[in-house]
């Protein structure tokens, strides 16, 4: 799904104080940005920078105070076609807190209820959604979501959104609270949804390493403005931007750049510790040979 924001501002209306109806400062200020179909886009910024508000505009939970949000070229707000927002899947922080059914099947099927589909169609869709998040249908369908591990619960919550066949998937800090194997598995899943099903994926992250490893593009939001829009590698190695956010450059970028400065090729520019060790030891060996 292509998303286009033109001059989008958003202001939360303050409680009317006495006579004057005061307006709060703008949370989002004149944003112009296009997100292309099939992107794997990370959004970063401080708490309170407007990230959550931005995401809520894309799902239609909020309408912009000024400007327009187009989904595949149509403005659902002004064209009175709010159903277009149904194509946007939204996964909140800690989505497993919202699981409530007695079985995994019922939880995932919940969103399909309003469509009044025949039982076998529901089953088929739930099965497909569970497969796409790599939960074995037969093994998990009758289990209680509450007895699953943290990573599994989160998969159930994601399946409950994927089952509605969105074109855009928005995730608010999807790896918060997950251990490393669950985080790795979750990103494998997101890449698969992105590559195989062509889902556009937008996620908010506070983990810069995660952004470097998984995003094709990074939008960095500060005080309601995107102050950076580009490749994660370029953005997260820019000293001015890093300083603006108080971020530390991810170590993978620091080490890769050091190697480049010394004339040692660093491949993709974001070497893992193991890759960096291999490159360094090879370089040291070659130098030793030359020295002899």
């Amino acid at each position: 799904m292509q998303i286009q924001l033109s001059d989008v501002s958003f202001i939360y209306e303050k409680k009317k104080k006495k006579k004057a109806s005061a307006l709060a400062p703008a949370v989002l200020k004149q944003l112009n940005v296009t997100i292309h179909s099939g992107e794997m886009l990370a959004i970063a910024g401080k708490s309170g920078s407007g990230k959550s508000t931005f995401l809520q505009l894309l799902k239609g939970f909020l309408a912009p105070t000024t400007g327009s949000v187009l989904l595949d070229g149509v403005d659902p707000n002004t064209s009175k076609r709010p159903e277009l927002f149904d194509q946007v899947g939204f996964i909140f922080q800690y989505p497993e807190h919202q699981l409530f059914s007695t079985t995994v099947f019922d939880d995932i099927a919940f969103g399909l209820q309003s469509a009044k589909l025949p039982r076998e169609v529901v089953e088929q869709k739930v099965r497909k959604a569970m497969e796409s998040v790599e939960l074995d249908y037969e093994v998990f369908k009758d289990r209680s979501p509450f007895e699953l591990s943290g990573g599994e619960k989160r998969r159930v919550a994601i399946a409950g959104v994927v089952v509605l066949e969105p074109k855009l998937l928005i995730l608010d800090e999807p790896t918060a609270g997950l251990d490393l194997p669950s985080r790795t598995a979750l990103f494998e899943l997101l890449h698969q949804l992105n590559e195989k099903q062509g889902l556009t994926i937008i996620w908010v992250s506070h983990q810069l390493d995660e952004i470097v490893n998984h995003a094709s593009r990074l939008l960095a939001l500060k005080n309601g403005i995107f102050i950076a829009d580009g490749s994660p590698e370029a953005t997260l190695s820019d000293p001015v931007l890093l300083d603006a956010f108080g971020w530390e450059e991810p170590s993978a970028l620091v080490v890769s750049r050091l190697l480049e400065q010394l004339g040692i090729s660093s491949g993709n520019g974001k070497l893992s510790p193991e890759e960096a060790a291999a490159v360094i030891s090879t370089a040291l060996n070659q130098q030793q040979i030359l020295a002899k």
């Binding site: 800690y94 956010f245 170590s251 010394l262 040692i264 510790p273 291999a278 360094i280 030891s281 130098q287």
Partner: protein, 280 residues
């Protein structure tokens, strides 16, 4: 001191369709102690028992076997519970789960009222707590108008106002951006300097707890290893098995050592530059 002896814990039983009773045992015979003012990290995979362990410490849950003592008082001795709960406070992952007031001031006042804090000193204490955590909001600010990071600081302020002796942070920084996380951790340590308390810190990110006195690694409901961080940092295989990732430079140092390159375990970018420049 917190003293946990042979404590086991199971979550509530449930019955399946054949009326068979199931219990899920999450802690098996755990023994550990945490001294006053210690900084202890609790590590392990999701579901390894860390969070359940902390819920035993302040008597929210009672062990099915074994005992938990807080400063000499048993958590199964119900008259002691008010004192125990005051001494051991928890800040959870999701600050919204523990917000009770409509405004910042009300939220902090709630816990203070519960412990019978003198009404005339309440305002002063609220201001003290707001200042201590560096929350950029006055006490009349509606809680709904706080950002995620601010809500987490408020949760911290609300518990620090009660002067806990043991503070448990259950992935309390997982919703914060890197700078806010750094500030939050700095705030914590600063607060500990001013008013010492033991810090029990659950995380999946080792770089946040390199300064801890001890790491306690949970695995399938048991304590697998309990010792200073150095004891863990050279055991990448164990950490990986338990779903933990070494901080970048530690992993790089180990990988270089494995390739026969002599580097210190506490490798930094400067050491790395020196190493490479020696040859260039």
């Amino acid at each position: 001191m917190l003293d946990i002896r042979n404590a086991s814990f199971s979550y509530t039983d449930w019955e399946d369709e054949e009326d068979t009773l199931h219990t899920s045992r999450v802690l098996h015979q755990v023994t550990a102690s945490i001294a006053a003012n210690e900084f202890v990290a609790l590590l392990g995979r999701n579901g390894s028992g860390k969070s359940s362990f902390t819920r035993l410490l302040n008597g929210i849950e009672l062990p099915s076997e074994g005992t938990v003592q807080v400063e000499g008082r048993f958590t199964h001795d119900s008259p002691s519970l008010p004192l125990i709960r005051r001494a051991v406070q928890i800040v959870f992952q999701n600050p919204e789960n523990q917000q009770v007031g409509m405004t910042v001031g009300e939220d902090i006042a709630f816990g203070l009222s519960n412990i019978g804090y003198p009404q005339q000193q309440m305002q002063e204490r609220i201001a003290w707590a707001i200042d201590l955590v560096g929350l950029d909001a006055d006490e009349d600010r509606p809680v709904t108008r706080l950002s995620g990071g601010e809500k987490q600081k408020l949760a911290l302020a609300s518990v620090l106002a009660l002067s806990p002796k043991y503070l448990i942070l259950d992935e309390a920084t997982s919703m914060l951006d890197p700078l806010a996380r750094k500030q939050f951790v700095a705030t914590l340590h600063e607060a500990r300097k001013r008013h010492p308390f033991a810090l029990i810190y659950i995380t999946h990110h080792l770089e946040e707890v390199l300064e801890a006195d001890r790491w306690v690694l949970f695995r399938e409901g048991r304590i697998h290893l309990d010792g200073p961080p150095a004891q863990f940092l050279n055991n990448e295989a164990l950490l990986a098995e338990c779903g933990l990732e070494l901080p970048y430079y530690h992993a790089l140092a180990l990988a270089l050592q494995a390739k026969g390159v002599s580097v210190p375990a506490s490798l930094g970018i400067e050491e790395l530059r020196d190493l490479l420049c020696r040859f260039n």
